[in-house]
Symmetry: C2
Subunit: 190 residues, 2 copies
């Protein structure tokens, strides 16, 4: 029986991959760049990821999904839905402006470019489901029956707004979406 140990190298590679994915996309994230970014030694690629690039991308997608889910869960635990969503938007505003609109969502990148690798696509699908579920659970008590559709609207519109914002190099789309989401959530919970 073997035990997988997350050495520093391995974990660093996964995190670097997630960071590169959100800037360049899946295809353009090469081993060379992952190694340069993570400082990992070349010989460790296929040692840690015998499944090659597909495995690395899959694990990075899962990591990004769970990282975001943890943040969302904390926000939903500490705040009312309206405030939590505002916080989520603020996080995206920071990511966009600090990267000069070079960084987006790694899970979206995985969903689009990982289309040919089922495991990657499924990891993206699971991440989206997790996020929706977290939001739906928080909304459910206030808007029974409509919680799921509101949660989906939140995730979809914010992810879409991030794409628009990157293309237009402006946070304006994100702000406008946030404004409308604020109305929707407030009205539904009122």
């Amino acid at each position: 029986m073997s035990v997988i140990v997350n050495t520093d190298s391995r974990q660093n590679m996964i995190q670097s991959t997630a960071l590169l994915m959100r800037e360049r996309g899946v295809d353009a994230t090469s081993f060379s760049e992952v190694l340069a970014h993570s400082g990992a030694p070349r010989g460790s690629i296929y040692h840690h990821f015998p499944g090659g690039k597909a495995q690395l991308i899959e694990e990075a997608t899962r990591f990004a999904g769970e990282f975001t889910a943890a943040g969302l869960a904390a926000a939903m635990r500490d705040s009312e839905p309206v405030a939590a969503v505002r916080g989520f938007v603020s996080l995206w505003r920071k990511i966009l402006t600090r990267s000069d609109f070079g960084a987006g969502c790694p899970v979206v990148a995985a969903a689009l470019e990982g289309d040919r690798a089922p495991a990657v696509r499924d990891a993206a699908a699971k991440a989206f489901s997790q996020w929706e579920e977290l939001l739906a659970d928080a909304v459910e008590p206030h808007a029974p029956g409509r919680a799921h559709s509101i949660a989906t609207l939140i995730i979809a519109s914010i992810e879409g707004a991030v794409v628009l914002a990157r293309a237009q190099r402006s946070v304006a789309p994100l702000e406008r979406v946030a404004e409308e989401l604020d109305r929707v959530i407030t009205a539904a919970l009122g």
Copy 2:
């Protein structure tokens, strides 16, 4: 003074490129595939597109943006906003199911992967702006002051829902977003 003539070969290549982009993304759309799909002769690539792949992708993005804008304009001209958006959603439902969730939005692909080529990113940005403007103009008479943010919510949430739908291989996210958009638009115009 030279005049650019859109020969069949050239236009076919542009349309094929847009179709391939929405399935594979920008990076994975190679000349070989564009040629195979369009039936264009190999020798015509750099004849028609001296700027190489960047130019081809840019023109395909512009084509896709204007094609969609024309459809949106017609819908907004013939129907009330609520019905027009429903029609837009139906179009996406068809694209997703007919392609077995293999096809998404080529403009989104351009926005994400064309990040390194400013001309491509700008073409995507312009497409999104066009669409928003068309929607905002139709909503403006009913909801002055809020038309732009509603228009952005519609575009962003539908584009986001298409990404979610592809990952999860289900139209459910699109349906849920459509349901909420219906409420938002009906309420705003009421």
